[in-house]
Symmetry: C2
Subunit: 340 residues, 2 copies
Amino acid sequence: MARLAGVSTATVSRVLSEPGKVRQKTHDLVMEAVRRSGYIPNSTAQKLRTRRTMNVLVVAPRLTNPVFAEILRGVDDELTQSGYGIIIGNLDNRREREARYVDLALSRQVDGVLLLTGYIPEKGARDMRESGLPIVAMCAAIDDDKIPNVVVQDREATRQAVEYLAGLGHRRFGYISGTPTSIIEHERFRGFREGIAAAGFGEDDFVRWEGYFVFSTGVSAAESFLAMKDRPTGIFAACDESAIGFIKRVREARVRVPQDVSVIGFDGIEFSDYTEPALTTFRQPLHELGRAGADVLLKLIQNGMTPDDWNIRLPLTLLERGTTGPVLHKDYKSLRRSSL
Amino acid sequence: MARLAGVSTATVSRVLSEPGKVRQKTHDLVMEAVRRSGYIPNSTAQKLRTRRTMNVLVVAPRLTNPVFAEILRGVDDELTQSGYGIIIGNLDNRREREARYVDLALSRQVDGVLLLTGYIPEKGARDMRESGLPIVAMCAAIDDDKIPNVVVQDREATRQAVEYLAGLGHRRFGYISGTPTSIIEHERFRGFREGIAAAGFGEDDFVRWEGYFVFSTGVSAAESFLAMKDRPTGIFAACDESAIGFIKRVREARVRVPQDVSVIGFDGIEFSDYTEPALTTFRQPLHELGRAGADVLLKLIQNGMTPDDWNIRLPLTLLERGTTGPVLHKDYKSLRRSSL
DNA sequence: TTGAAAGCGCTAACAT
DNA sequence: ATGTTAGCGCTTTCAA
């Protein structure tokens, strides 16, 4: 290459990576040659030599889920700023896909890993930790004191949701679950039961509809709801999608929201602003979460930070909108009158 | 490494990449050592030596857009199957970000590029073609006979949408645009005008509301619509999001859909199944599109295919649902009566 | 301040 | 069928 245009390969390398260590004149000479030849260093050779790939692996359960997509945006912003690239490991909800990404880590194609999965990916008997790479867990706490957790306060927010419903006068509740094996679901359900207890209710005062983090789960839950004689009036859905599916189905059956049933979602996806009425929900600080996670990972890669402030837990925001309201039930006439 | 456990590095390499060329016994010997030492080849060294990265760059305008996310799923399925990884170039709607990905291509960090942008990314005076890498354009045709196009039939579907509305008796139309600089928007608007003409109408028979591919564009269009004295009754939105925003806003103003105004969207995102009523729209074969594009790119990388069947144009499916219906306007009483 | 030379870990050509 | 060796393109001592 431009080595023909003057100097040694070492000097070119210096000009490009440590411009201070070279004489101005040589610098200009080299830059001119670079410009003319259109030279761009081969990054693979750089990686091999320096043993840094400048890439980070992000493993996510499903990319079409707007929650993960939005987190990824935050991650991308932070990483791009520091010159890192993203290799994306999309499991598409199929755990068998994770083996591939374990190999990726083991073969050192990345400098660090961001996990949106809630667990450590495995391949046979080996797991991703063996790579020795820095790993940061997001979206759900991983119980390993070598792995920082950057998460949202799922449990607290869910508890608060129940208390909010209880405060509106509701006394029979419904819980529409997310994917049962997911840690996130586990946390949210735990928060839900805490809220039930805190509001002075017991295990008999709610029904739980099992499902996944998808629209159709809300529809199934609604079918079951509609078939009940003594329906709950305060419904919490573990994600906005199922809240939306639920509402659509019950309204088709002429059940009014929020007059007959209040529904509160979780996530605060953009879509929740555009339902009729707009969905009451907790908004996750997804973009911020993404940035925070990437930031911790970068620190880990660059200087090996210590376990202080490792565990970040971001708060959520309650969006009080149209799908929740006071109970309009015979037992609550008095309460209703006084609260209006 | 396991070289200590028996043979030469070359043999290990052969066992791992061309198992046929080695004796069964040596093979087993090596594999055993590999297993025991947990050896995984350094992929960077492989890349440098073989000059293949086994990675593909996918450049997308915005990842939180469900259309791109879904295409990416298809791309991922196809690429993963062939052992290729994805490096994701998310522009997040900011063109200045594309320079980074031009560098990525120029520095040969990938074997090929998939463009969901509708144009060739540039950096200063250079563009991505200079990398000499195979490039496939998706989502919008790029006019370069070295670049295959794998797209959907935007124009035809939009024309068909207008004809569908006209068939329902509508005679004043509205067009809610996408991002004006986008080629996709251009194609759709072109199809729209073709449809207008084909149905026997002219440039005065429709209004065009400018915007972007987002929910809020539909809301703005609705504001403008509500302020009109002689409102159109047949609305086409260049994406589902703006159709949904439009419908929400006009319904708030007690305009009935589809009795007072029919709305047809474009894309067929999952959300469109859950609006009330469900949105009439054209569904894009996004997953299939992703696979098809990746497939063409892989062929290009592997054997340099010839320009036959380069240009794939997938059809869309009209989903006739609740937001469109026959005109219920004084001028159309007769038509209405006869068609019911 | 610059150049010469070694070597990152692998694969492929050649030799055995 | 296997080993030896050169070298992918760069960065980084070490020497000049």
